[in-house]
Symmetry: D2
Subunit: 261 residues, 4 copies
């Protein structure tokens, strides 16, 4: 079963910065989608901030198994209604891969519930990504480490919740470290944060990075049917209780009423 | 060092429902605060939805080590600005105890990043709370289980992230189970969710429940100084890198500029 | 790719207790293996305590993707050398499903590092297993809960490490609760503990239990090649360091020597 | 209440290697104990491999709140009976701080249930330890990072279970990274693994390392009474069930009999 994947990018610096345009002439989303489509089990399309509703309509999300998100300069321009829509899609079972500066995207912040902050330096230094969980599907087929000769530095502490598993930890030439691959679940949705990918470097052209992305999409895809209402809080009437009981004592809710929200 | 604790309640049903008023004539917050103040190491005050800014001004939060939150019918009336203020206080190091129907409070939803849903039944049935982590400070001095003869049922699945630790699991007479005590960290703030406490039953008058609340406040208090900016994302200039490096390659950021948010 | 599965059982009470023999005339392992073989992607065989080397030779383990373990009365008769062999196979990537009273098996104790204790009662009471992680692959296709009319009770606290995820929690008629489905990783091996399965009841004939077992085998199978030495601790000589460094200061180890164990 | 702490060391290289003897003339245990005793809330003594029963009698362990363990060359000489005794003490509530090469000690291996392997290099290179969980009590009062100019390198992957929390991650001059501070619970015992401390370098004379050790002892101390039998698995007779039930169906156990182990 093909994994329907949507690569979303804000697509800003590709149009305003000469170096980024040179590296990613069709946009970072196009490069990433092409890398994903090298896996016959993945069918990746793209959407950008500039599309109507940022290309993230209810219909599009409903037909997306895994969403890949790259944003940096324009987090604030993403409409709150779209953010809520994406969050609910994740809760309903859509996977999410948050890339690099997406740590400060509205979508990731909403799903983590934490500050998501870090330290940073843009110096084109060397990053070496170490696999800390070699058994993990996202690390399948990878070497013990891989290097990116030029990357932005992200340093600890990274203000995220303790992950389910730490898959990668990065070493930086300038002396910092960073937990670069982290897994989470939010509702029925699998989430993977992956650090590399500063737009002024050719990171998404790197073959190992592309393998990580394909692995991550496969890991994040949830084959179960999407939940119709991920926040349903059903009342179980006394007569439907699994064990026979009788109602006792005072009550706030008239029979059949919905709960408070 | 005394733990400065603030017990917040929406204080609605105490004023509109005769049974709730009978059980908690001064409000649930008053009963809970009195229970906490039985511990000489805790100094608990109260605030309610009806206070100006819901009693949750910046100054008040800055002077609060642990916030206890009870809400149910009026989640929607809590001002979003106050919610953000509370979330940032937690990130900065304030502890949070979320009680019962606070599972659907804006504050808890924001900090969890998940649906926080569950099934429920208001039938005054018996709840038996089992200690699953007897080593945990929140279980200190507790028996293997304790019973609440009349409680609202909350049933699994509970739509929260995997906790750091599961401290309690509840058995319900009608046949359901629920993870009733869960710990989290969000930024520098410790969070404990505790299930019992439906307003039409005398739960917060129960001696064991009161012990849990005192234990939880002690566990949640973070003695470290409050963070000034919990979401700071400092740039580390090349010349301040721990290891000597030289800037290479293209760059988006002029020296000294702040990062994007 | 077919998942090569081995169902191991001590096969004691099937031969000494009339009721167990009636329920499982070919042994519990045969019933479980048949249930697994209903999945065309699984090829399940069996082995028992009475086989030479308990049927768990190096060759057999090397050809096993997932091992299912049921033991109860004869934990002490399992040879320590075989236990170590199984533990190393798990570390190397073999999945393990520990069933019911396997909580006190040598293999499970070794892999958990904890007491693995619990309370228990053999009264043929009703157990209701609730799904707490409906998104999890092990819960795929399951209803919200399923009932076993007659089961042994296991009660909290269950002396295990915090799991990666809690998939099931059980309700018992007599008033207890238990975390009945827990996931772990140990080295490259995926481990699932599943509570139901007392030998005097027809639990493994239950269709939903059988579905859980099939799901668990699929989840536990690790498609990566088995590790040759799961405890390898390689020395990285100075000249092979990823970054160029020079050896400095005192040293314990002559060049090329192995580390201490 | 004073935390009774016991610093255990194998005390081998201090007596056989001139450089180690120069750095730690009274043994590493003496230096570590002195550092702990600088905290008025800690009373630290010492024991070594050469003491009768390695200085770890039942009585000594019963009077120990936190055990600090350093071993390297002589793991194999630690008697298995003593290892089991220590493991049971941890399960009963004794804290354990495992230092550096204790990753391969019998005690730590038993408690983790994993390979505990890593890569290594003895080149006196620089290690920079980053705080990844600044809110954690073990990081109290620490700077964002601290440096050890000469240390042995330990590299990922580190073959341990996912921790409760990752407190430190190390950067190495030669290009590797390592999760250097990890927390676990095993039974009622709190466990902290701390990486630094190769015997040919003055690591335990470092003021920040000493602060980490004091913080860790305070964190690991469990004020609850020690469990008499950490592996007790009590039978709950039908007549003692919290809810009234009647025994039904077949049974293996005669009334009052103990369970199988």
């Amino acid at each position: 079963m093909t994994i329907r994947t949507l690569v979303w990018s804000e697509n800003v610096h590709e149009r305003t910065n000469a170096e980024v345009a040179r590296l990613y002439p069709q946009g970072m989303h196009a490069t990433i989608a092409a890398a994903l489509n090298a896996d016959p089990g993945i069918a990746a399309g793209t959407a950008t901030l500039q599309d109507p509703e940022h290309g993230l309509t209810e219909a599009r999300l409903a037909a997306t198994d895994v969403l890949v998100w790259w944003g940096h300069a324009a987090h604030g321009e993403v409409a709150d209604a779209v953010v809520e829509r994406v969050v609910r899609a994740v809760w309903s079972g859509m996977g999410l891969i948050a890339l690099h500066s997406a740590h400060f995207s509205k979508v990731f912040l909403r799903l983590m519930g934490t500050p998501c902050n870090l330290s940073w330096r843009e110096a084109g230094e060397r990053e070496r990504v170490w696999v800390t969980a070699p058994h993990h599907p996202i690390a399948a087929g990878l070497p013990a480490f891989f290097e990116l000769e030029h990357e932005e530095m992200y340093g600890e502490p990274f203000g995220v919740p303790e992950p389910l598993e730490t898959v990668f930890v990065s070493w930086f030439q300038g002396g910092e470290v960073f937990r670069s691959g982290l897994t989470y679940r939010r509702g029925a949705g699998n989430i993977f944060y992956f650090r590399p990918g500063h737009e002024t470097y050719p990171t998404y052209h790197d073959a190992t990075v592309q393998q990580v992305l394909r692995n991550a999409v496969r890991w994040a895809a949830n084959p179960a049917p999407r939940l119709a209402d991920p926040q349903a809080a059903p009342n179980v009437p006394v007569e439907a209780a699994p064990e026979r009981i009788e109602a006792r004592g005072a009550s706030l809710h008239a029979p059949g009423r919905e709960g408070f929200r």
